[in-house]
Structures are given as C-alpha cells and as structure tokens.
C-alpha cells in the first residue's frame, strides 16, 4: 500500500469557517457535537421535511466557527431523506444548508471497516478532512489495535483518536485541528477496477457534465450511484433528457456485466476490498474466544422470553420514575403560575387587560411550561438508553409484536410514553426511521390514556359508577377505570391496522438494524440533548399554545356580561359567592356559552347538554379543564349549600322529564368521548412541529372527533338500552 503525502492545511481555521460532522449513526457524532457546542446550538426542521438540522458554534483559537451535525448516514447513496441531506450538503447542492469548509469525519474504531466505507465515499468529494476515531475503549475490549499514523498515511488525511465519553473530548478535537490541521484527500484512493472507472468516466462525460448542475467533484459519486441503482426517482434533481441517460446507464451496466462486474455491487465490493487490504498495516486484531460484554448482555436482553420481560420492567421503572420525579416539579410550576397570576391580578386594576394577562397569557404560558418536567425526564431516559445501545435491542425484541399490529419495533417506547403525556411521546417518535411507521405512531399516540384524562375519568366514575366489589379487592369503579385504559390501547391498535392499509407507501419495512455495542453514555451529552428537547417544545409548540389560549380567553370573555339589578341584589346577599357567580354568568353568555348552546342539538344524542358543550370547547386548552369548567358553571346555582361537583352532577334534574339529567349512560358516553377525541391543543401543536405541516394535526383532529362522536353515541344508546333499560 503506497503512503500518500499529506497536504496539511492549517490556515482554514484562522478565519470563521463552517465545520460539518459526518459519520455513521451510533459513532458518538452527536456527543462530539454537544461537547463542541454545549448549549450554543439551534435545532430546527429543514424546510418541507421532518429531518432536524442541528447547528451550533464553537471557538477554536479565538475564532468562532459554525458546527453542523449532519444526519448519520451509512453511505452517500441517499436512499433516505436524512442521508440525502448529508449527501446534498457535502456536494454543496442543498439550498437550505451551508457548504462545509472542512469536515470532521467521525469513525468508530471498534467497527473500522464499516465506518471507512462511508469515509471513503466522503473522501472522494475532496473536502478538507480531519478523521476522528471514537470508541477506542470498545475496540480495546475486542482486541482491536489501530495505528493512527498508518491509517493517516493510507488515506492521506490527519487522524486523531479521542474518547467521546471524556469531558475533554472537545479540547482533544480542537487541539488536533490546531496542531494537525486538515487535509484534502485525493479521490478514488480505493482503486476502482478499470471497467468501473471507465463506466464512471463515460457517464460523467456523456451525460452528467452536460445535463446536470452537479459540481465536478460530485459527479463520480453520482455516476456510481446511478450505475448501481439506475434510480432516477429522486425528486431533488431535475434531470433533463432522462430517457437518454437511462439508455446510456443500461448500456454501461451491460458492458460491466460482460466484463465480469456486478453493476449493483461493484462499488461496494471494491471499496470494502480496498478497506480490508489497506487495514492490514494499520489494524491488528487479537483472536479472542471469550465473549465480549455485548455478547453477554445480548444473551439476556434479546432472549425470547427474558427480553420482553426486561423491556416491560425497564418501561415500568421509567414511567414510574417520570411520574414521581416530574410531579413535584409540575406542582411547583403550577403553583408558581397561580401565584404569579394572583400577583398580577392584584397589582393591576380589574378589567380586560388584567383578565387578558391573567386568564389568557399567564394561564396559557403555565399550560405550556407544566409539560416541561415530563418532557425532560422522558428524554433523559430515552437518550440515556439510546446511548447505552439498549434501545436498538428493545426495538428488536418488540418488533414481532408491533409488526403484527402494523407498527414498528421502535414505536413501542413513544406509545408507552403516551400514558404519561402524548407530547413527549410524539417528540420521541423521531427514533423511528421510516416515515410511514413514524406517522402512524404519531396519529394513534393520543389514544393512549394520558394523565390529563384522569380528572375527567375520576369525576365521572365517582359520580355514576357504583362502588361495588367484584372479586377480592377489585371494584366496579376500578374495572371501569382499567377498561378505559384498555379501550385506548384497543383503539390505537385498531386504528394502526386501518392506517396501515390507507397510507400509500404501505410496503412493509423490513427490520434491518445495526445493534451497536453496549457502552456507558456521555452523561453531559444526554443532559444537553434532553434540555434541547425542552427548549424546542417551549419555543415552537409554546407559540401556538399561547395563541390558542388567547383565542379561548376571548371566546370565554366576550361579550362582557353586565350584572342586572337582581344579580347585584343576590350578590349582596351572598358576598362569598359573588365573584364566582359573576364569572359563571359571564361564561354562560359568552361566545363559549353560546357555542355550548348552539351545539346542544348536535351533542344531545350523546347525552350531553349545553353545559358539557361549553366544557368541550374550553377543555381544548387541556382535557382536565373540563372539570374546572363544570365547577364554574355549577357554582352559580349553589346559593344555599355548597355541594361538590360529583354530588351536583348526580342531583341535576332535567326540567322537562323530572328525571336525573346525568346518569351512568351520560358518564360512559362522556368518558368514551374523552378517551378518543383530540381534546388537546398542545398535542396538535407538537404534531404540527413534528410533521412540519398543518395537514396531519387537522387530519388527526378530524378523524378523532368523528370517531369520538360516533363511539360516544353508540355507548350512550347501548348503556340506555342494556344497562338502564
């Protein structure tokens, strides 16, 4: 193997430059990005798609540089949206990303050959590179020794070996950039065979150079891809004279075959052959017969029986911890916003501005911030488990079951998170690679009974379901409660099965996944990533939620109510109730109140009256608001003795029939409605963010509302006929 002279460039870093991180998934790329940028990062979606763009800044030798964390890729043959972005950015043809001045090529030392495959493709693009070797400790454990200097000589670029788990990994990289610099690699170091090289040159000369806008250095890579796949379906290129190109490619493929080359595999096989041969001088591997840590752990974690059991235990610990750790923070946030609202309310003169600030903006903001602890705790767990390598195993052991219901193994964690709250669950669907699987998971996730449904279920069950013991400690109330959770799961599974047939790209996604070696993750990277998720929620979904809160405030506050002489007299007689009575009267005749009365004919078949109708509108802010709204509405009629809401619901009499207005049928109907309906603006806001379009939140709202309406109707009729009839 001939050694190359390395043309080191150090001057690039003397001026502000754009540095891109490139590498396979699970190589420690994000850890390096987090170490280099800390919290100086900005995460947003690339326009029109749901792939995230991660950008940050870092200072090297007093100069501020931009850092881009390009999506992890196994190759530049861009089959998936994220790999395509990496490819297009590297060739400088992606409008929404800057062309990088230099690259940090992140290479997993414990899996060198596989990682060098992508590196060899990237090096063909002739961008200045520093190769960063990570996971050396795992390589050591496997008996793999890499001579960095030898590797550097083979590929003609500087190589630095770092420990990505060390707190100083950013310093190691900065030092290497300053001392070793970067170098522009030479293309085609992997020595393609003569027939393959000739085919690439002819495709470049006769078609790519004339009919495409690709830069010269990118054309050989594109030619290799076209020869292997012949795929013209990529929408991002406007190929002219496609027919001519197809003919030429067919001819070149036939020529390759006649010369004994397999056109679909020639590039891959030849690159791997070169990597294997060139590794002889730079990589040594001791033959070890004993099992590695990964072998031993996989024997347990992927075991047919133990695997799923361990996974369920991990989830149990995870959700119990989220529940118990997040609750005090949520209570604290709730209290802070109530106190702050009370302070603002008492500091400003009563009136519209006061009400807008307190009931609209502060209440809206509080409604956003309260989700933060759950989101951060869930992501701490997810990033930690992802960093250990366990998540890939969890997806693997659950894949069989999830495939049966039309989903993917990776859907299981987001779906289970939905029991706490749909929002972090929807954000967690980013771990699902396939867009169809991810979309279906998002669309069914709100069926999982989140904690905000609890207050509605609790009030309705306590009021209308008899507290009858069934077997042992099981009561009818407990069973109904359990049944509602089960109902959510059944709805989710059923909807997934239907959607699997509806969505056009419905071909099954085979489960082919790399299982990375187990390792202890970099904790500061886990924390930074979790905080970033929290920031994304507050800044992006928060804007929409506050806007909707203000709209709901307007609906509940206008037109303003002027108390009559009778009201004033009543209030004088019962001063304690006066403020509550006023707010109730205000709500009843507001736009929200009118809305309740307006939709009464439509919701009557479900057993609901206009009071519940108001609740349906106001609970769009958050499901638990339903209980608060009913409390407000019923407070007006309580002049002599104050009954609890549960008692009040039980004793409500229909003036026309003289019978109780609400009964078990109404309660079941309302609970079924709440189990299905998309009564949560925060969820819709996060679905908009995660799907990068208003289309899917609107579809979600539409299908869930229709489904909820008919299910509640059937429940009401069934309960009236069979339970009460």
């Amino acid at each position: 193997m001939s050694n190359l002279t390395i043309n080191v460039q150090k001057e690039l870093l003397r001026q502000p430059s754009t540095i891109a991180l490139v590498g396979n998934p699970n190589t420690g790329k994000s850890t390096i990005f987090n170490a280099l940028t800390g919290l100086r990062q900005k995460i947003a979606n690339y326009p029109g798609i749901t792939v995230e763009r991660k950008m940050g800044t870092t200072i090297i030798n007093g100069v501020l540089h931009k850092i881009i964390d390009l999506p992890g890729a196994y190759s530049l043959n861009h089959k998936k949206a994220d790999e395509r972005i990496t490819y297009e950015t590297l060739i400088g043809s992606y409008d929404h990303e800057e062309k990088p001045d230099l690259l940090l090529m992140v290479v997993d030392a414990s899996n060198l050959e596989r990682n060098l495959f992508l590196a060899s493709q990237v090096m063909d693009l002739q961008i200045p590179i520093l190769m960063v070797l990570t996971m050396s400790d795992i390589a050591d454990e496997r008996g793999i020794r890499i001579q960095s200097q030898q590797l550097s000589n083979v590929w003609g670029v500087p190589v630095v070996s770092i420990n990505a788990r060390s707190k100083q990994c950013d310093l190691q990289i900065k030092q290497a950039l300053v001392e070793q610099g970067v170098a522009t690699p030479k293309p085609f170091q992997w020595n393609p065979s003569k027939p393959l090289r000739q085919a690439v040159e002819r495709l470049d000369r006769e078609w790519l150079s004339e009919h495409t806008q690709l830069p010269e250095r990118a054309r050989p890579i594109e030619a290799l891809r076209l020869l292997a796949e012949g795929n013209f379906e990529d929408s991002f290129y406007q190929y002219s004279e496609e027919g001519k190109a197809k003919k030429l490619i067919e001819e070149l493929q036939n020529t390759l075959e006649a010369q004994g080359e397999n056109p679909t595999a020639a590039e891959v096989v030849q690159r791997y052959r070169f990597i294997g041969d060139s590794s002889e001088g730079s990589v040594t591997k001791e033959q070890r017969d004993e099992q590695t840590l990964t072998d031993r752990l996989d024997n347990v974690f992927t075991h047919r029986v133990a695997g799923p059991v361990i996974f369920v235990l991990v989830l149990l610990v995870m959700f119990q911890s989220i529940f118990s750790w997040a609750t005090p923070f949520m209570d604290m946030i709730d209290m802070l916003f109530i106190e702050f609202g009370a302070y603002v309310s008492s500091s400003l003169p009563a009136g519209l501005l006061n009400s807008l600030l307190v009931d609209g903006i502060i209440a809206g903001l509080g409604g956003v911030v309260i989700f933060l602890p759950q989101i951060i705790f869930l992501f701490l767990f997810i990033y930690f488990l992802e960093g250990t390598g366990y998540m890939a195993r969890a997806a693997f052991v659950m894949d069989g079951f999830m495939t049966k219901v039309g989903l993917h193994g990776r859907s299981v964690v987001p779906l289970m998170s939905g029991f706490a709250c749909a929002i972090p669950g929807i954000m967690a669907t980013r771990t699902i690679e396939n867009w169809r699987d991810r979309l279906i998971t998002i669309m069914i996730l709100p069926f999982m009974a989140c904690s905000a449904r609890l207050p509605v279920y609790a009030v309705m069950i306590a009021a209308f379901v008899p507290d009858k013991r069934i077997i042992g400690f099981l009561t009818l109330q407990g069973l109904v409660f359990f049944g509602l959770y089960l109902f959510g799961i059944v709805m989710a599974v059923g909807s997934a099965a239907v959607m699997k047939r509806i969505f056009p790209t419905g071909k099954p996604t085979p489960f082919l996944m790399e299982l990375p070696p187990y390792k202890w993750p970099n904790i500061s990277s886990v924390v930074i990533q979790s905080l970033e998720r929290g920031k994304i929620f507050i800044t992006e979904a928060g804007k929409i939620i506050v806007a909707i809160s203000i709209i709901l405030w307007v609906l509940a506050s206008f037109p303003t109510y002027e108390p009559t002489a009778n009201d004033l007299a009543d209030m004088d007689a019962n001063r304690q109730m006066s403020e509550q009575m006023l707010s109730t009267l205000q709500l009843n005749q507001s736009y929200a109140g009118n809305f309740g009365q307006w939709i009464e004919p439509a919701i009557e078949p479900l057993g609901f009256d206009w009071k519940i109708g108001i609740g349906l509108l106001t609970s769009f802010a958050a499901r638990e608001v339903m209980v608060g709204t009913l409390n407000t509405i019923y407070s007006i009629e309580e002049t002599e003795k104050q009954l609890g809401l549960i008692e009040r619901l039980r004793s409500e009499i229909d003036p026309e029939t003289g019978l109780p207005k609400y009964n078990l049928a109404t309660a079941l109907s309302l609970m079924i409605f709440f189990a299905i309906a998309m009564q949560c603006m925060s969820t819709l806001a996060i679905v908009k963010r995660e799907t990068n379009s208003w289309k899917w939140p609107l579809v979600m709202f539409g299908y869930m509302t229709v489904l909820a309406y008919f299910s509640a109707w059937i429940t009401f009729e069934w309960a009236n006929t069979f339970l009460l009839g």
Binding site: S75, V268, L512
Partner: protein, 81 residues
C-alpha cells in the same frame, strides 16, 4: 450447500452467497458490510436473526433473512471480510 439465513443455527459461521431481496434492502445490507462473499456468525436465531459480520452486529427480520442465501463454513475460518 446454500441455504436461507433463517435456517441456520446459533453459533454457525456462514458465508453470504446471494442477496435475493429488493434492491433497497440489498444496498443497505451491502453498505453495512453484508456483501456477497463476506463471512459472519449467527448470534441469535429465534425467527428473527442477529448476524455478526466483521465487527457489525445486524438485526434482521425473518422475511428478510429468508432472502439472504448463505453457505455454512467451518468454524475455524476467519470472520474477516
């Protein structure tokens, strides 16, 4: 003797003979190092398969494993590409 990957046993060493799947799956397998001629070890086979190829551990579902044709090789041979 060439057999589908799903018929192999845990611990068995195999050489990949033919990737008989869709072009997309074939490309992905190849990029991950599972090229024709590569040898690997079957780490797990309970319907779904885990195949260790070089240093890369691949989880492969049953339907995909049925379309990967392999040739069992003796245990002594190197597992390098």
């Amino acid at each position: 003797m060439i057999v589908p990957l799903n018929t192999t046993k845990i611990g068995e060493q195999v050489r990949v003979s033919c990737l008989n799947c869709t072009s997309e799956d074939t490309c992905r397998l190849q990029e991950l190092g599972c090229v024709e001629g590569a040898t690997g070890t079957v780490v797990y086979n309970q319907k779904n398969i885990i195949l260790q190829v070089g240093e890369c551990r691949l989880a492969i579902t049953h339907p995909l494993a049925m379309n990967i044709l392999v040739e069992p090789v003796s245990k002594k041979k190197s597992s390098n590409l």
